[in-house]
């Protein structure tokens, strides 16, 4: 049994989209919390997509996905 999952974190971690419960509980600002989470849960540095066409395509499709979901969300405000 083999599985890969591609995780996207930090959907709310941007200016203007604070999460009060998290903020109160952790006592961290969004940037700090994001960085802490990223550092604790990640391994290694960001992939260098230069001269890596597959990585460039993957990033592009991730961006497409986030844009589609995000567009639905943003249109509510």
């Amino acid at each position: 049994m083999i599985l890969i999952h591609v995780s996207g974190d930090g959907a709310l971690a941007r200016p203007g989209r604070h999460h009060p419960r998290l903020r109160n509980r952790k006592g961290l600002d969004m940037a700090t919390a994001t960085e802490t989470q990223t550092q604790s849960y990640s391994a290694g540095a960001e992939v260098d997509a230069t001269n890596n066409p597959t990585a460039q395509k993957l990033l592009k499709r991730c961006q497409d996905f986030f844009a589609e979901v995000e567009n639905l969300y943003v249109s509510a405000s």
Partner: protein, 155 residues
């Protein structure tokens, strides 16, 4: 009085990590969706090429790598690939999701499933909501689906 704009707000408010988003993604971005299929094929290719999920966490059966840090270009999502291989139920490292998480499940073995907000999920998506914390749990077959010793904690 019916207000289309309000209805739209209610609908769109669900587009943040959690049960509703998980249902939505599996309904609209599952198997056969061009974006989902591309994410799966490109991720598999990245693993084959050796740059995706290439860093051992606990041997070669549990690996991950960072594809992108949070940035404007990714809508402030970070992107991580995680590779898990097991013959039974496998629990990855305990971690939290301060802002939620969206998991695109890329099967290599078609029996592989990931524990989501709605239960075990094969092809498709899971999306733990903001503030949840858990062990990533992988399962092979139906025998383990309802096992009481599987613990996934969601707040």
């Amino acid at each position: 009085m019916y207000q289309p704009a309000d209805a739209k707000c209610l609908l769109n408010a669900s587009r943040t990590p959690g049960k509703d988003l998980e249902k939505y993604l599996n309904a609209h971005y599952g198997s056969g969706n061009p974006i989902y299929e591309d994410l799966c094929s490109l991720t598999r290719k990245g693993v084959e090429e050796g740059w995706a999920a290439n860093i051992d966490i606990d041997g070669r059966h549990y690996r991950r790598s960072k594809i992108a840090l949070p940035k404007e270009e990714t809508r402030y999502f970070s992107i991580t690939t995680v590779y898990m291989e097991s013959e039974g139920v496998f629990s990855g490292q305990y971690h939290s999701h301060p802002y939620g998480e969206i998991n695109c499940i890329v099967q290599i073995d078609k029996t592989a499933e990931l524990k989501g907000m709605q239960g075990w999920q094969g092809v498709g998506w899971t999306s733990p909501g903001a503030g949840t914390h858990q062990w990533v749990i992988l399962c092979k077959d139906h025998v383990h689906r309802d096992a009481d010793d599987i613990t996934v904690i969601h707040r």
